[in-house]
């Protein structure tokens, strides 16, 4: 029997994203604490760098104001990148409500993608007040427009690397149901090895080589080093190709994990 494949409709996924924005907006307290914690963290980091620079000459040739710019932009990026936008996958596997998702005429992974994107877009709106606060509290450098455009593009690529990392992580719940321990480790790894806290160029030689080869660097470090100018325009193509490489690899692993997980649900009944 031949069944005509129904035309793909984008509308439900746009609606999922909109509802996710509406949902996030109901947690108003989160918004203010998020901004509050941003101010506290940027202030503390500024103090730490000031103290370190008082005793040392600029390490790796990074002047104080550059490293403070780096830290502030890294924290701003964190407002978006630190969100586990596919947490809903874990939650719905954990309480079994994923079954009702599979009973709807939708692509379930696309549903999680749309929902996560909505959540991220809401939090991305916080970057603007965050940026104003950053400009008020600490002095940060603003690059030329072409450099900023490259940074923005690289940031988007970094977002997709992060998305697939989170998706893979939440997919493990198909087998384990519980992911908080693994998640904690991955969060530390992304923060530290991704260069959010300390620029990777300050890492010792051997470790420095290793961390650049990991996908975490593609999330934070690459766009940040573009922003502060350590990565010159001549290397843009190279570093963004590497980011794209990670998106393809992690996307492929995510697909395999999703299929195996979904298969497990439909064969074993979850």
């Amino acid at each position: 029997m031949i069944v005509a494949r129904k035309r793909f409709r984008l509308e439900p996924y746009v609606e999922f994203a909109k509802r996710a924005i509406a949902r996030e907006a109901t947690y108003r307290f989160d918004v203010f604490t998020g901004l509050g914690s941003f101010v506290v963290r940027i202030y503390l980091l500024r103090m730490v760098w000031f103290a370190l620079y008082a005793h040392n000459a600029a390490p790796a040739g990074l002047p104080l104001h550059t490293i403070i710019t780096y830290s502030a932009v890294a924290l701003l990026m964190g407002l978006v990148l630190d969100i586990d936008q596919t947490r809903a996958l874990h939650d719905r596997l954990h309480d079994g409500s994923i079954a009702t998702d599979f009973m709807k005429p939708i692509s379930v992974p696309l549903y999680f993608f749309a929902d996560g994107t909505g959540e991220v877009l809401f939090h991305a709106a916080l970057v603007i007040p965050g940026l104003i606060l950053a400009l008020l509290f600490v002095h940060i450098d603003v690059p030329s427009f072409p450099v900023f455009a490259a940074f923005a593009l690289s940031f988007v690529l970094g977002y997709f690397v992060g998305f697939f990392l989170n998706f893979m992580l939440n997919c493990t719940a198909f087998w384990t149901l519980e992911i908080s321990a693994v998640q904690l480790i991955v969060t530390w790894l992304t923060d530290l090895l991704g260069g959010q806290i300390v620029p990777l160029i300050l890492f010792p030689a051997f470790l420095g080589k290793v961390v650049y080869a990991l996908p975490f660097a593609a999330m934070f470090s690459t766009p940040l080093l573009i922003y502060i100018g350590t990565i010159p325009p001549s290397r843009y193509l190279e570093v963004m190709t590497l980011q794209l490489f990670w998106i393809v690899v992690l996307g492929a692993i995510s697909t395999v994990m999703w299929r195996a997980g979904a298969r497990r649900v439909v064969v074993q009944g979850g």
Binding site: V3, S97, A99, P105, I106, Q268
Partner: protein, 335 residues
Amino acid sequence: MAIIETVDLCKTFRSIKREPGIRGAFAALFSRDYEEKAAVHHVSFSLEPGEVVGYIGPNGAGKSTTIKMLTGILVPTSGQIRVAGLVPHEQRQANAENIGVVFGQRSQLYWDLPLRDSFELLRSIYDVPRNRYAENLAEFSELLDLERFMGTPVRQLSLGERMRGDFAAAMIHDPKIVFLDEPTIGLDVLAKEAIRSFVARVTAERGTTVVLTTHDLADVERLARRIILIDEGTVVYDGALERLREEYGTHRTLVVTLAEDYPEISIEGATLESREGTIARLRFDRRIISAEAVVRRVMAQYAISDIAIVEPDIESIVRRLYVEGYAVPAQAMRP
């Protein structure tokens, strides 16, 4: 043509064999021994469009497993399955367009959003035409009295309100088939009745096929005329509810209030089921002895102040079936 058809449908689950105790738990981490359990075993039935069937059985009988296969979220081990012409697990999304689902234990509404937003979202998921959506919502809202809490986030609704929302959600896209899994569990009498009359009315109007699994046989009596009884993965009865009552409901109970205190009650042809003070319950098989004969014997032997005959309800028939088995009812149930 049948709208739902299963032929020799089987589902076997495989799980790692586990020895008891901590040692067993560790051994199971590395074990390669599997245990197989047939949850659904050669189940065949077919439903016509518009039929309302009660799919019932004790816990673990295979009801939910069957429903999961019909909704396409579980792949059968063997056998054939067709729902509105589609093979559900191969055409999950297309099948999902045709069905509506209500789980009493699990909501399909979106937890953080107002009820109205969940309906809006479902409208776009199922691509319901706007005027049809408005008509359905108006009708359901009136029948289920939803207006009061349309703007309330689902997580703040009471169970009764949430279930009413879930029923409206399951019907908003005019599905050809609805699966109701324990739909009235935990609800009070009024809420149960509101939901039953909603289902009866809306499905009759639209000619919806209904598969109802429940432990509350009052749901079945109110809504279904046919029942499929399943136990240990096998269909043990498939037919009219009335016939089940005729064939298996052969026993009546005579409730007698005695005018005096007798130390012992004994009636030929009936068995004493229970006795509390002056109230005695006598059970008899209507094919062996008539009610009239039992009453006459009671009145001849004892002084009584009141008497009543209790017909078996479907609940007690099914309970006895679970306990006493299904084979050759006339013999098995003879006292």
